[in-house]
């Protein structure tokens, strides 16, 4: 199983849980599995073209998947996936 950290804006979909578990051999598979358990998650993470929304940072352990293989990044038992929305703004 893969441990997934859920950011607060998405916790209404996971019954308030900040950490959930899911199955999958890649980030995309884990998100698909999560969505089957917690419907609606996928829609919040992907845009209409099926790509991850830009403001969503996803890390495998400490590594940003942007610098790995994006949503196709491979996962193994015991990996931790963190979903962390960007923090940005300006005047």
């Amino acid at each position: 199983m893969i441990k997934v950290r859920i950011p607060t804006p998405l916790r209404p979909l996971t019954r308030g849980q900040g950490e959930v578990e899911a199955k999958g051999a890649s980030v995309a598979e884990v998100i698909a599995n999560l969505d089957s358990i917690h419907p609606g998650l996928k829609q919040r993470l992907y845009d209409e073209t099926g790509e991850l929304r830009r403001f969503v940072n996803i890390y495998v352990n400490e590594e940003d998947i942007r610098f790995l293989k994006g949503k196709e990044t491979a996962l193994k038992e015991g990996d931790e996936v963190s979903i962390v929305p960007a923090i940005a703004g300006g005047r």
Partner: protein, 146 residues
């Protein structure tokens, strides 16, 4: 936070405050990487807020901030280890009032945190105000300095 804002002026500073039961006990300065992270402009475009692409990279940090994702992750991990909650997300406005801009509102993805703004519009008299930004609604957040 005011010292951080002054040090980086004319660029915007940013950071996080964490604590327990609404009382802040820890301060994390986070690097503003708006000028050198290619994703920043993409995130701003996606949210349909202030476009960054027409600005030279050297001046982007004067009008916007983007927290370094790696430092953010490290700060959140540290909060978990210390059993602290995120309480405040702060940044500075170097030449505008301490009120959330449409950019700030469009990019507010953390409903549980108060968004605090340090305005250096009047250099000798920094103005500090905090707000809840939820579903694009802005409500002043009360805070006390002790």
């Amino acid at each position: 936070m005011v010292a951080h804002a002054r040090e980086l002026n004319p660029f915007e500073c940013c950071g996080l405050l964490a604590g327990r039961n609404g009382a802040v006990v820890h301060h994390y300065r986070i690097t503003n990487t708006v000028a050198n992270d290619v994703r920043a402009a993409q995130v701003f475009d996606e949210a349909h807020v202030k476009g960054l692409r027409h600005l030279p990279e050297t001046t982007r940090a004067e009008v916007a901030y983007f927290m370094d994702p790696k430092e953010m992750l490290a700060a959140f991990k540290d909060m978990r280890q210390r059993q602290l909650d995120l309480i405040v997300i702060y940044h500075s406005h170097t030449a505008s009032p301490a009120y959330p801009s449409t950019t700030d509102i469009g990019l507010a993805y953390y409903p549980e945190a108060a968004y605090l703004i340090i305005s250096l519009e009047q250099k000798s008299k920094p103005d500090i105000r905090a707000y809840w930004i939820r579903d694009r609604q802005v409500v002043p957040a009360e805070f006390h300095s002790i």
